[in-house]
Symmetry: C2
């Protein structure tokens, strides 16, 4: 579902570039995101990145203008994945509860496919313009989720006592918490977590016994 | 339910101490946790702490031996709260599903009562002995949760397709995600999140309609 190319870049990641062989922009970006997630964006210097890559800083500047462009490219990659899912959920000709479940399922799949990028997105603090723009997009996403919850409550498909904003936060708190323990290498080939997440959130863990009033 | 005193300290927090008036150990600790959560433990120096408190570093050393003792006291406070809930859940003469729900509810209440301390606990990386000891306790807690889930599946109270470890992780991912947006000042007087969390996790968001087979 999610393109493996890097959105927002000027040239395809695999196009020939100057610089040391073996490091195209996508590889540099992958390593940058790894270090950002380990040390925090603020705590990472271009020197740290060059050391990890084993190349000169100047070789990195062949690819990007600096650290903030790496952050923007990385966040764009996570946000692009979520934007695809959001657009599809919005357009789905189905009740709000089904669009909501589609959005949760798709978000878990993006998180699994792009886990380092989504991890970075979730840790953004808003210290730079790039971070603030990403936070704005996260907030718009949260509002969309809350709207779907409110509509599903109105439809009678979600319990009437559910507060839309709290429910939206808990639902995506559940989804986003996966980055704390999900490791792509370890979970390769394992079933997606979309099923257990949706089962818990929408139907609950408790076995549904025949209703006494049924 | 949770004592407001600081477990693990040598003297009660309110006992008279040397040092500048207005800063007892509990106040120093509260400010330390605030800065640790803002900048990370590794990124905080005793100088940062002294500057925030507006006192000399030596005045902090009246209270503690250093930064790591502050970390230990702070983590102990979060862990002590969770230990009380865990012990009670373990001792409860009730089926596993009810002990699990008690544990979730109690953990949410600890998180609400001690949110900066629990936030710090959840961000621990394991770079020092104090952090590694806290991580060990978190892992023991996770195992206990997974055991309760497995027992509840065995009892037929949790859906048989639920994987115990994944379910435990999702359940406490949901609980722990609250620290990302819960602000004690803003939520003061609001209803506890324990109800919406348990409603979502155990019964699901979806309205339970009469079973067609009922």
């Amino acid at each position: 579902m999610i393109s493996s190319s890097v959105p927002g870049q000027d040239r395809p990641a695999n196009a020939p570039r100057r610089g040391r062989p073996g490091y195209d922009l996508a590889s540099v970006l992958a390593v940058a995101v790894e270090i950002f997630n380990e040390r925090g964006y603020d705590g990472t210097s271009m020197r740290d990145l060059a050391d990890r890559l084993g190349i000169a800083k100047s070789a990195i500047y062949h690819h990007v203008t600096g650290k903030e462009e790496l952050l923007r490219l990385a966040l764009d990659r996570a946000l692009a994945g979520l934007a695809v899912v959001t657009d599809r959920a919005r357009a789905l000709p189905a009740p709000a509860i089904e669009r909501l479940e589609y959005l949760v399922r798709g978000s878990v799949e993006v998180l699994e496919a792009e886990s380092p990028y989504v991890t970075l997105l979730l840790r953004v603090r808003g210290n730079t313009d790039v971070e603030r723009a990403a936070l704005d997009q996260r907030r718009a996403f949260d509002r969309f989720v809350a709207e779907l919850v409110a509509e599903a409550v109105h439809d009678g498909d979600i319990r009437p006592d559910a507060d839309a904003m709290i429910t939206a936060r808990l639902l995506f708190g559940l989804v986003n918490s996966i980055v704390e323990w999900y490791r792509p290498a370890r979970h390769a080939g394992a079933a997606s977590l979309a099923d257990p997440v949706c089962a818990m959130a929408f139907d609950g863990l408790r076995t549904r016994r025949p209703s006494p009033r049924g």
